[in-house]
């Protein structure tokens, strides 16, 4: 028999700290598989952010920097500008990227900064135990929206792919999901493409991965997968929001 599925080389052996069923582990693996398949492990420098994925530097088997909350795109910019031949990626959650780091992500995108951004959207602050995120759904109950997110008080969820698609800088923007194997495989292809765009020097590429937080959503891991499919996807439609290679039939 042949081994057809194993831990990617781009990931360390270290057990991950995530809660049972947390899709961060899946998305980490997809990033690792993308790095493996492009053969770029030695040239890759990753930037971990603040949030549940703060320890990402322990799980990726490449050079890593750990950035301040929201600043990963700025840190990645600093790395990429002085080492343009290296592959630089950030791995950020929704609080980090869509709230405190909004300026950094918008300007990195507007500059067409040649980096790859993995944006994990689970509609909640997981690490700090379940507060409302900028991407929390209308009516979603969190510790800081205990009666459900109200538009009157907290406005509307931020749709990052749609927002960034208005800019000319990005080369590739896609929203994918992690709630079942079919979507996970699709997410893997999008992530690989986002890395390839950087290798081809096409500029800023971002993949938004809808993900779960079963513990803070108060659901089982399986229930969380179903909740994602039923509730998040209608607010955050999946698809490719920008692809400068689309015309080339890529």
């Amino acid at each position: 028999m042949r081994t057809v599925f194993k831990k990617p080389r781009a990931m360390t052996k270290r057990p991950m700290h995530y809660c049972p069923g947390c899709t961060h582990g899946i998305i980490h693996r997809l990033v690792g598989e993308a790095i493996d398949s492009l053969g770029i492990l030695e040239e890759t420098i990753g930037v971990a952010s603040v949030g549940c994925s703060v320890f990402a530097y322990d799980y990726f088997n490449c050079d890593m920097q750990q950035a301040a909350h929201g600043r990963a795109p700025a840190v990645a910019t600093g790395i990429k500008r002085v080492l343009p031949q290296r592959t630089v990626f950030t791995y950020q959650g929704d609080g980090d990227l869509a709230s405190i780091g909004m300026a950094e992500i918008v300007h990195a995108a507007a500059r067409g900064e040649n980096i790859t951004v993995i944006f994990v959207n689970n509609a909640i602050y997981g690490m700090t135990s379940g507060q409302m995120a900028p991407t929390s759904l209308i009516g979603q109950k969190t510790t800081t929206s205990p009666r459900g997110r109200s538009v009157k008080d907290a406005g509307y969820p931020i749709k990052i792919c749609e927002l960034l698609a208005t800019l000319e800088g990005p080369s590739y923007l896609a929203r994918v999901s992690s709630h079942d194997p079919r979507h996970i495989l699709q997410a893997g292809r999008a992530i690989k493409k986002a890395f390839r765009m950087q290798k081809e020097k096409r500029g800023f590429a971002l993949v938004e991965v809808l993900s779960t937080c079963s513990v803070n959503w108060g659901l089982t891991p399986r229930g969380a997968m179903e909740w994602l499919a039923e509730n998040m996807i209608p607010t955050y439609p999946l698809g490719v929001y920008k692809d400068v290679t689309a015309k080339e039939g890529d």
């Binding site: 030695e42 420098i45 950035a67 700025a74 002085v82 080492l83 300007h107």
Partner: protein
């Protein structure tokens, strides 16, 4: 060597390029704009990267990223912008990333004004950001020193793996003086095995400031403190003028020190035994050197464009052995040598403003 007549901010920028600075990340704010302007024009022509960030916050984090690759990197700003950078500075210090940060001080607090000030002394030397960390802080007193201390700052940053802050002010940044530049340095020979440059033929490097295990973080804290102690032993810099017979020593840095020096000359012209002590490194502060000068027969007069910030360090240094007086101007006003002379004369008469504090 020929001398160039050049503005302070531009002298600093040129010296940085000659010192091997290969990346500059900035954001416009007065009165430091000539630094990013100069870098934007010259750095790309000389093998470096210039980028205008979307904010001071982003700029300092770009510095973090670039410093993490071992590249010589710099940012500059003025007081309110430096406040915005404090979070990033704390991370840089914690990550032990070498870089140079320039504060061309204006007056505050708040948006304050665009005229020169020295109100950021506490922020520069006592912390500014969160946590137990120190920066090496250098205070130029002339346009020549804007250049020379920048060269030194890059070397110290690499030597100690620590951010170095150049604490200048709006006058030193804007004034023009003749400067002799150091020759341009060749490629940096220093080995930086910790840098994240891509894990080719080695284990991955991680630049990280997080450690949630108290035992381990405490160890790291102690290691940083031990480094700061070594810095205190090895990196104190200061200048003395006409100290040996002086019964009144003026203590000032930066623009205030230039005023103090003129005031000292005026006082000497009147036969008064006045000297000048000018700290060049503000961290480490020349406590032992000032302490050595302190005695009952000798008094000190601290001159600052702040409410009395370095004054506290001078008091700490003399340990009560000498009387310490203080005079200042605020809000972008600069004390004149005549102002300082009048204070000196009052002190001579036994009056003086005394230990004026706020």
């Amino acid at each position: 060597m020929t001398k160039t007549l050049i503005r302070g901010n531009e002298a600093l920028a040129e010296a940085a390029i000659r010192a091997g600075c290969k990346a500059f990340f900035g954001y416009p704010i007065t009165p430091q704009n000539e630094i990013p302007d100069y870098m934007a024009y010259h750095l790309p022509l000389r093998g470096g990267v210039y980028l205008q960030a979307e904010s001071e916050v982003s700029a300092i984090n770009m510095v973090y990223g670039a410093a993490g690759t071992g590249t010589r990197v710099m940012t500059s700003s003025s007081s309110p912008g430096i406040s915005l950078k404090q979070e990033g500075i704390s991370y840089l210090a914690a990550g032990e990333l070498p870089c140079v940060i320039v504060n061309v001080m204006r007056c505050g607090p708040g948006l304050g004004g665009i005229h020169p000030g020295q109100g950021d002394y506490f922020q520069a030397v006592k912390g500014g950001g969160h946590g137990d960390y120190r920066l090496l802080v250098l205070a130029p007193g002339s346009v020549q020193e804007m250049a020379d201390l920048t060269t030194l700052a890059f070397d110290l940053a690499d030597k100690w793996r620590n951010p170095v802050l150049i604490l200048s002010d709006g006058i030193l940044g804007q004034m023009m003086e003749p400067v002799e530049f150091s020759p341009e340095e060749g490629p940096l020979a220093m080995d930086k095995p910790w840098a994240t440059t891509g894990a080719v033929n080695r284990k991955p490097n991680v630049i990280n400031t997080l450690d949630i295990v108290p035992e381990s973080l405490e160890k790291k804290n102690y290691a940083l403190l031990a480094k700061y102690e070594r810095i205190k032993r090895e990196e104190i810099r200061w200048e003395e003028k006409k100290i040996s017979d002086a019964d009144l020593i003026l203590v000032a840095y930066g623009t205030s020190a230039r005023v103090a020096r003129s005031a000292m000359d005026l006082a000497r012209g009147k036969g008064l035994k006045v000297g000048l002590f000018r700290p060049i490194s503000l961290f480490p502060f020349p406590y032992p050197q000032l302490k050595r000068l302190a005695c009952r027969k000798r008094q000190f007069l601290v001159i600052e464009m702040s409410g009395g910030q370095m004054l506290e360090d001078v008091r700490l240094a003399v340990e009560g052995r000498s009387k310490v007086h203080f005079t200042n101007r605020l809000g972008g006003m600069v004390p004149t040598p005549q102002d300082v002379l009048e204070t000196i004369l009052k002190i001579r008469e036994g009056g003086g403003p005394g230990e004026n504090s706020f």
